[in-house]
Subunit: 381 residues, 2 copies
């Protein structure tokens, strides 16, 4: 495989962006990424998006190629539930690795706030097994609640032990001008917050929001002196059963673990070599399980290590340094692309107040459907 | 780029398949394609699907990897409106060309009959520009009707001149045991059929239906004596404006023409070298425009050449030899994969009563959103 590099990143703010639709958000992120790469155009665009049907819009890749002035570029949409943005980056990397293009663009975009709450809930539940889970009322939060309850039962820890993930995410987001929630929260506020689906509280959960993030990828031959390349040292996707009930052990995110192992192997690295980790912290329980799947904590130990500050700024493996899904926001089909954008900024030394000093290797992991699909990237400065 | 070959094809019958859902249809096509390739498994699955939200099912690639026993394979969905199946084949080809996998699988699947008619209509309209077309009532058929009316105006031909496309499609489908409509129709029946959106009649249009088709692709190194490989000599995707109103000339399908030109160039071929053409005959007008975009007829001449029998069995360039979208059926996100499956059967000499003698080169073209995206493949025996 040819080596693939990231030479441009772009992102919109994340939030309830009532004055912008899929078209405006996607085109803005594409424009920023091309400008960052000092390119006028690319000939291939891969669009990560999960909930376009909420907006009545299929064929979103052609729409964005059009809106961004990139016609007649190759363009199609990639969907892997909440991992769609990560999978779009994977598609772009494959296109360049194949030799089909010397440069390509991946953009993740989501516009969730146009849907009525029950539509958004139903749309997110579609990531689960419709026949055996979602149609019986087991939605996005309810399934995560089952995982969290089981984790608490097995480890003997209370809900308050998950606080460090939310507290750190909000603290990191306070320094990110594009984050949705820029107010720090306390462990006390976390403990007292309203319950959504017990034991999940509102501060365990990422918000409904809008946003778009884009990356320009290219071949080694394409690199010029104007670029500040970050190499995609590994890109790996794995799947697990779509129904939680079909798993031997619901506390092992098999797809996350396998894609992480494959990525470490391809990059010739171990977890200890990772300087920062962009985690899929859609719920605090998913953060814990993802950390364990990626080898940053032994099974059942993620909360203990979090309490010790391992994943906070200055810790052994800082996570979600720009606020993560929890506080930067989780426009679902865009989040995997935001993770890559934020990791690139870290590896370039451009992460501002949240900069991890001397960061050379970053891991990003985008998870869809309660672990039924995971996309893991290793990025190298 | 590494050469990519097709070594296995599978397809379900097309029709109103009330006893099968996305899971059963997709898994059946995958199973058949793997068996045809004499493989137990592949490690990557790319799923073409457009209307999954009608079924309340996102994350369909993980679901099918699971249902087909292919976990923990890489799996994500590809969507490019009605060209989704073609784009999934493209994704599989890129994955193998990149060196990421020696073998991969692309499957197109659609389950349209579970939706209420107004839901299906709205779902298909989402391929158009929601902000500027669909939300004003310009749906799938209405937009094609605008194209047809303009074509009739420019060429001075009546609706009856489109009859050969529908008549040939139904005649071809009569010999295809997997086709939805196996009854031949007459030009008189075509002329008399009920109007859907003037000038489009019900016999101009492909049906709402269910189905799945799959192909196994692999590298040259992977080929063994047990395989009967068909080479993907070219694979090209191009886009055009999503809104018809934004085009300088609505009778030139720019994306179709550009992707065809790119495919001919990559394959070192001309239209005259093509032994059969799997056309995107969702409406008779789209057949005509696709034939002209691909160089099989000069502008405005497709109907005249059709009347002369150029596109019928035994003609210069037989099209839609298994019945096409019109009569085999058009399960939208699957159709592009069906085209490739049927072309492979022709190139292997396994097309039965519809066999094109001595076929060595086939062109397939899958079109989404009234020409806003087109996927063109050249296959070589």
């Amino acid at each position: 495989m040819r080596d693939v590099f990231i030479i441009g990143v772009g992102q919109t703010p994340v939030g309830e962006l009532w004055d912008q639709g899929l078209r405006e958000l996607g085109a803005a992120a594409i424009h920023d990424a091309l400008e960052d790469a000092r390119l006028e155009r690319v000939d291939a665009v891969y669009v990560g998006n999960m909930l376009g049907c909420l907006n009545g819009q299929a064929n979103l890749a052609a729409l964005l190629a059009d809106a961004a002035g990139l016609l007649p570029a190759e363009a199609w949409r990639v969907e892997a539930a909440c991992a769609s943005g990560g999978a779009a980056v994977r598609a772009g990397a494959l296109a360049v690795a194949s030799g089909a293009y010397d440069a390509a663009l991946a953009v993740g975009v989501e516009k969730m706030t146009d849907g009525a709450p029950e539509q958004v809930t139903a749309g997110l539940a579609a990531a689960a097994d419709q026949d055996y889970e979602a149609s019986h009322g087991l939605g996005f939060t309810a399934l995560s609640a089952l995982l969290m309850r089981r984790y608490m039962e097995e480890t003997g820890q209370g809900r308050e032990a998950f606080a460090p993930f939310a507290v750190t995410a909000h603290r990191n987001a306070a320094a990110n001008p594009r984050a949705m929630f820029r107010e720090p929260i306390t462990a006390e506020a976390f403990a007292r917050c309203p319950v959504v689906a017990a034991p999940i509280g509102v501060l365990d959960a990422a918000p409904i929001c809008d946003g778009a993030a884009a990356v320009v990828v290219c071949s080694r031959e394409f690199l010029g002196p104007r670029h500040r390349p970050v190499r995609i040292a590994a890109s790996a996707v794995a799947t697990d059963t779509i129904a939680l009930a079909a798993r031997d052990d619901i506390l092992t995110l098999g797809a996350a673990a396998r894609s992480a192992r494959a990525a470490y192997h391809a990059a010739g690295m171990r977890p200890a070599d990772v300087d920062l980790f962009e985690a899929h912290d859609a719920f605090t329980i998913i953060t814990a399980l993802s950390l364990e799947a990626c080898g940053f904590a032994p099974r059942g130990q993620a909360l203990r290590l979090a309490a010790e500050g391992c994943f906070a700024p200055g810790g052994k493996t800082p996570i979600s340094t720009c606020g993560g899904l929890k506080a930067r926001g989780h426009p679902v089909g865009a989040s995997g692309a935001y993770q890559v954008v934020e990791a690139v900024l870290q590896l370039r030394g451009e992460a501002g107040a949240n900069q991890v000093k001397g960061a050379r290797h970053a891991l990003t992991q985008s998870i869809g459907g309660h672990g039924s699909v995971a996309v893991t990237h290793v990025l190298e400065a």
